[in-house]
Structures are given as structure tokens and as C-alpha cells.
């Protein structure tokens, strides 16, 4: 989690104490839920939106909308699905352009220098190929594949997040998978030609 200065927390605390506002969860419940879900949600946002900055902005907005939601949640899983649904809709609203073919997500921050040094060139190329292939997919295909194969979500959960019928997921997922495989193969071929 990012560091927060003491003075900033104190300022926000004094602001928050001024008046009570209606949010859908109490602070302890929210903080526990956030700590459990934020890293994975950030990963989802960054990969679906293709931009760290957008992921940072949308993360805050996603949790805010969840807190303001009046929906009754039956379980933690239900709340988590709702969270991802908000995030997916926000990405859809935010992005008007296809994701850039290669986005240096990890390579623009000095704090990742150590991890960067340890990665082999082959890994970096593989990841670049993956990013390139993901970037050529439609946003919904990216979301489908990420939810199904990076998160391991069920078809019902994916349908809930994307707002489509569960019966449609099998076909949508199959098509997205075939397209992704073709794109991955294309990037591998291109790399081989280059080398």
C-alpha cells in the first residue's frame, strides 16, 4: 500500500469527523474488504485499461461507487462481483481508444528496478508479446479472459461482472480464447522474424 503522511491522515480525519455521511459499509468492514480485494482489482484495472494511471484513478472511483451503492449484498462474493462490475463499467466509460500495443506498465517506476533487473530478456519479450496480444483484443474480450484465466472466475461470476447472460459466456469465452491464441502466435512469429 502507498505511504500516507501523518498530516494528510490527520487532515482527512478532521474533515471526516465534521459530519457523518451515509456509506454502505462501516469503516472496519470496508478496510478489511479493501485490503483483501484492492491489489487484485488494481491488477484487473491495469490490464483491462492498459494504463497504470487510469488504474490508480479508477480504483478510488470504484470503491467510492461501491460505498455509495444501495444494493443489498448477500455475501462477500456478491459484493466482490459487484465491485468488478463497477470497475468494468468504469473502464468501458473511460476508454474511447484501443489499448496501446505495448504499455510499459512495470518499467516506468524506479521502485521496480530490482524486480526488473532480475527478469530475463526472454521473460520480458514474452510479457511484451502478451501485452501486445491483449492490447489487440476488445475490452470485453480482455475482461473475459482475465476473469476466466487470471482470476479463475466461474461463468456465472463473469456473466454478473460483464452484465451478460451466463449461457452466452461459453461462446464468448471460446471466441476470445481463439482470437487471443492467434494473436499470441502472431507476436511469437513476429519476434522470431525479428531475431
Amino acid at each position: 500500500m502507498a505511504d500516507v503522511t501523518f498530516s494528510e491522515i490527520e487532515r482527512l480525519r478532521s474533515d471526516a469527523d465534521e459530519a457523518d455521511v451515509a456509506l454502505a459499509m462501516d469503516e472496519d468492514a470496508f478496510r478489511a474488504f479493501y485490503d483483501r480485494t484492492a491489489p487484485a482489482l488494481w491488477a484487473y484495472l491495469s490490464r483491462i485499461a492498459g494504463d497504470r494511471q487510469i488504474a490508480d484513478d479508477l480504483l478510488q472511483e470504484t470503491y467510492y461507487r461501491l460505498l455509495r451503492a444501495r444494493a443489498p449484498f448477500e455475501s462477500e462474493a456478491h459484493r466482490r462481483n459487484y465491485l468488478y462490475r463497477i470497475a468494468t463499467n468504469l473502464v468501458r466509460d473511460t476508454r474511447r481508444h484501443p489499448m496501446p500495443p505495448v504499455t510499459p506498465l512495470a518499467d516506468d517506476d524506479a521502485s521496480h528496478a530490482t524486480a526488473r533487473a532480475s527478469r530475463s530478456t526472454e521473460d520480458a519479450e514474452r510479457r511484451a508479446g502478451l501485452r501486445q496480444a491483449l492490447g489487440r483484443l476488445k475490452p470485453r474480450e480482455r475482461a473475459l479472459l482475465w476473469l476466466a484465466y487470471a482470476h479463475g472466475s466461474s461463468h456465472e461470476e463473469i456473466a454478473g461482472v460483464l452484465g451478460v447472460k451466463t449461457a452466452s459466456i461459453k461462446l464468448l469465452l471460446y471466441r476470445a480464447r481463439q482470437r487471443f491464441i492467434a494473436l499470441l502466435a502472431g507476436t511469437v512469429t513476429a519476434r522470431e522474424k525479428q531475431s
Binding site: 500516507v4 479493501y34 488494481w42 499470441l184
Partner: protein, 164 residues
């Protein structure tokens, strides 16, 4: 369209997700993947995505839950304050509209000239009195209430909005 599926897709994904694929996976599962086109596709897709999930999780540096909570509270409070101030804004707009109407009426009278204005004014007053006297009591009361409101609304709006 018939979509090819396999009942062992989930097993394959579990093996990849838990780092057991391929070397630590069951022989049975490896043999199945060799023979099953659907599961081979799952391996091709899931392996890089699971690896990328690990990279993305390592990169993730979200703000602390405390700061997200407090920002949400501050924003909710701002929105509540904005929503509460809306009726005052409407009253203000109505008061301005009333004032503008009165000014326009005054300007019309002034433009018609002062020469015959007193006679015209008196005729208008007489006409209003006659008209009011022919009205039902309820309509008279309503008319008086509207007139009073038009006069008092700008003053009330001023008193409500002024900063002490």
C-alpha cells in the same frame, strides 16, 4: 454454434494457477492435455495470464484503505452539501426572476410616458379593483397571496443568502 468444451478445463487451470503445471501435475492430467485440444488451448491462454497476474499483483501499489475511506467520506459529504444547497439556489433564481419581472413592468410603464401616466395608472388601479371585486373570495385571497409573495420573495431570499 456448438462450442467445444472439456470437463477437465478447471483441473488444468487449477494446476497452472497453483504452479503445478507442467512438471508437478499428475501424469494423468498431462496425458489428457496432450490428447485434448480444448485443454491445450486453456494451457496456451491461462499460463501467460496467470504469470501476468503475479507480475501485476507485485506491481500493485494501491493507496491505503484508510485514505480511500476518508476520501470517500469527504466526497460523500461534499455531494451531500451540494444536494442540500440546491433548493436555496432555486429560491434565488425565482427571486431574481421576480425582480426582473417587476423591473420590466416598471420600465414598460415608464416608456409609455409620464404625461398620461397618472391617469393611466388610476384607470389601471380602477380596472384591477373592479376585476378583483368581481372575483370569488378564494381567487381574491390567492391573488393577494401571489402579489405578497412576489414582493416578499426577493427580500426573503436576500435574508437567507446574506453572509453575516
Amino acid at each position: 454454434m456448438s462450442v467445444p468444451t472439456c470437463s477437465r478445463e478447471r483441473d488444468v487451470w487449477e494446476a497452472i494457477s497453483h504452479g503445478r503445471w507442467p512438471s508437478l501435475a499428475d501424469d494423468d492430467l498431462r496425458a489428457h492435455v496432450d490428447a485434448c485440444a480444448v485443454c491445450r488451448d486453456v494451457v496456451v491462454v491461462a499460463a501467460p495470464l496467470v504469470a501476468d497476474r503475479a507480475v501485476a499483483s507485485a506491481e500493485a501499489d494501491p493507496p491505503s484503505s484508510a485514505i480511500v475511506w476518508w476520501r470517500a467520506q469527504a466526497r460523500a459529504r461534499q455531494e451531500a452539501a451540494r444536494a442540500a444547497s440546491q433548493p436555496i439556489t432555486i429560491v434565488h433564481a425565482l427571486a431574481i426572476a421576480c425582480g426582473a419581472g417587476l423591473l420590466a413592468a416598471g420600465a414598460t410603464v415608464w416608456l409609455r410616458g409620464w404625461s398620461g401616466s397618472i391617469g393611466t395608472f388610476m384607470a389601471a388601479v380602477n380596472a384591477i379593483i373592479v376585476a378583483v371585486s368581481t372575483l370569488d373570495t378564494r381567487w381574491t385571497m390567492l391573488l393577494i397571496a401571489v402579489a405578497a409573495w412576489m414582493l416578499l420573495a426577493p427580500i426573503a431570499a436576500y435574508l437567507a443568502l446574506r453572509e453575516d
